[in-house]
């Protein structure tokens, strides 16, 4: 039971990361590596703010800080013409120093501080602690998902989807493609950073190395969701990223508990899962081609 509850908590928190990655990777069709840095940025900002008794403001600032980080990547890509992958790496790398600067140490503890979880535990005194945590995680995740689902139905949302699909057409429709890309990278990284912000307050610490492998985790959530729901509308995409994140956590928790592999193998296993899943379309294609070559009509 604790295993399932714990996976739900973490799954819902990382679902925000999944949504952010889904938006850049699938909707905007740009692989964005900023996430490794922006998740830690969220941990750093929210951690420091929580230590200063401003946990809710900390989450808001984490989102805003992530937006700024995403805009930097967006600027590098559009205004300075740097390759999208390299732009993300540059921002991520720079953020390492920024995050250390914010935290003042490579690890800070929030134990005993008034985190959002603590605030709601006090407010909903009678309830079990784990249930309160579940409610907080669920509400945050629900609100963020709903906002993004609504957002993608607006005119700007449509423009973002079109930019990811056919940039040329968007330009021809007199829309500033650079602005669209910068804006989208900003909100996506804001979402990733919010995920980190919530995580810090949940686990009561922020660590400079928390972000390592973040992009892969986000991709894994997106891909697991797609296996279940298929690739359809953005609404379904966002929901499936959330569900994918929860399932990913359950799988990991089960695998660790039954000692299928030691915990240090986690990142390798995640990378292999994502690598295999992403290569499936190509593998399918080459099997088809081989059949054609052999069989003919």
């Amino acid at each position: 039971m604790t295993l399932i509850l714990g996976s739900l908590h973490i799954g819902l928190i990382y679902a925000l990361l999944g949504i952010g990655v889904y938006i850049t990777f699938r909707v905007l069709d740009i692989p964005d590596l900023t996430a490794d840095g922006s998740l830690t940025l969220g941990l750093a900002v929210s951690g420091i703010m929580t230590i200063n008794n401003q946990s809710i403001l900390g989450l808001v600032l984490a989102f805003i800080a992530g937006c700024i980080a995403g805009s930097v990547t967006g600027l590098l890509q559009t205004k300075f013409g740097i390759h999208p992958i390299l732009s993300g790496i540059l921002t991520m790398s720079g953020l390492y120093s920024i995050n250390l600067l914010i935290m003042g140490a490579s690890n800070i503890s929030l134990i005993g501080k008034e985190s959002v979880f603590k605030i709601f535990e006090d407010m909903l005194g009678g309830l079990d602690k784990d249930i309160v945590r579940l409610i907080v995680c669920f509400v945050v995740c629900f609100v963020v998902s709903a906002l993004f689902i609504l957002f993608f139905k607006t005119r700007l949302g449509l423009m973002i989807r079109a930019t990811g699909n056919n940039e040329h057409m968007v330009k021809a429709s007199s829309i500033n493609v650079d602005f669209i890309k910068i804006f989208t990278l900003a909100i996506a990284n804001g979402c990733v950073s919010l995920s980190g912000g919530l995580l810090a307050q949940y686990q009561s610490f922020s660590d400079i190395s928390s972000g390592v492998g973040t992009v892969v985790i986000g991709l894994a959530s997106v891909i697991i969701g797609e296996v279940l729901f298929g690739r359809r509308t953005v609404t379904i995409g966002i929901i499936s990223a959330v569900v994918g994140s929860i399932i990913y956590r359950l799988i990991i928790a089960l695998a660790l508990q039954s000692s299928i592999f030691p915990s240090y193998m986690l990142k390798l296993v995640s990378a292999v899962i994502v690598g295999v899943a992403l290569s499936i379309p190509t593998i399918k294609k080459s099997i088809e081609n081989r059949k054609l070559r052999k069989g003919g009509i």
Binding site: R155, A162, M169, S173
Partner: protein, 264 residues
């Protein structure tokens, strides 16, 4: 309306591949005029359109649209005033989005605010009415992904998209060349209809000389980066394809290369 003044374009300047693509183009289009542009492969036809559209900048000369100097204006900014369709039907539409979503993106130019609802009910109805006029059965496919449509249907949608908020100028770069003959004819009919109904000043590139003479009000021939013929009125009406080819030979001092010109 559109005024091109002494425009020059050199590609790969200062390298062994240096190519003088346009050598002093002067051209003026009157409001509502429908001009066809012909010329052999590599004559510089698309280059003229890309300069007007803003993908590339001229090395010399000016381009004015309604007395406004647009020579160096940003591509997406002038897109508000200039509609464009290309030969490749893939370029004008987003394949993974539905017909109405594509139209809504184009229609957003004429709407204020980014956070309004993307597709309102009245928008859908408006799109449907526009598509009914095309007679391609597209009015029942508003929710179909554009990637599933034929090239002709995609090109028709691209046409509607670039004219849905009426542009000052419409540029068509061999927009029916990649279609099968019956689709090409349908798209050409739709083009004529839209251009005439909305009275849009239009410049159309075609490699079909017969079509060039039959469509619109004026025909211009380009050769090696220069305008060598400008036909309109009676002279154009009485012109046959073979007359035109003779004129071309005289004016260009070149043996005619009928590689791409279709003598239909």
């Amino acid at each position: 309306m559109l005024k091109i003044q002494n425009v020059h374009k050199v590609f790969s300047k200062g390298t062994v591949n240096e190519h003088y693509a346009l050598q002093g183009i002067d051209l003026e289009l009157k409001t509502g005029e429908f001009v066809t542009l012909i010329g052999t492969n590599g004559a510089g036809k698309s280059t003229i359109m890309n300069l007007i559209g803003g993908d590339i900048l001229p090395d010399k000369g000016r381009i004015y649209l309604d007395n406004e100097d647009i020579t160096y204006e940003k591509e997406h900014k002038r897109a508000r005033k200039i509609g464009r369709i290309f030969q490749n039907p893939m370029l004008g539409t987003a394949p993974d989005m539905t017909v109405e979503e594509n139209l809504a993106v184009a229609y957003s130019q004429s709407k204020k605010g980014l956070f309004g609802i993307g597709i309102k009910k009245e928008d859908s109805e408006f799109f449907k009415k526009c598509l009914e006029d095309f007679d391609l059965g597209l009015e029942d496919k508003l929710k179909t992904k554009v990637g599933l449509l034929s090239g002709g249907q995609r090109q028709a949608i691209a046409l509607l998209m670039s004219t849905i908020s009426t542009p000052k100028l419409l540029l068509l770069d061999e927009h029916t060349a990649a279609l099968d003959p019956s689709a090409a004819e349908k798209v050409m009919n739709i083009t004529n209809k839209i251009v005439r109904e909305k009275n849009i000043t239009t410049l159309m590139i075609t490699h079909n000389i017969n079509q060039a003479l039959k469509t619109g009000d004026r025909t211009i021939m380009l050769h090696k980066g220069k305008i060598i013929l400008d036909l309109s009125g009676k002279e154009r009406e009485n012109m046959t394809v073979s007359d035109l080819l003779k004129l071309y030979e005289n004016n260009s001092n070149d043996i005619f290369d009928n590689d791409r010109m279709i003598l239909s």
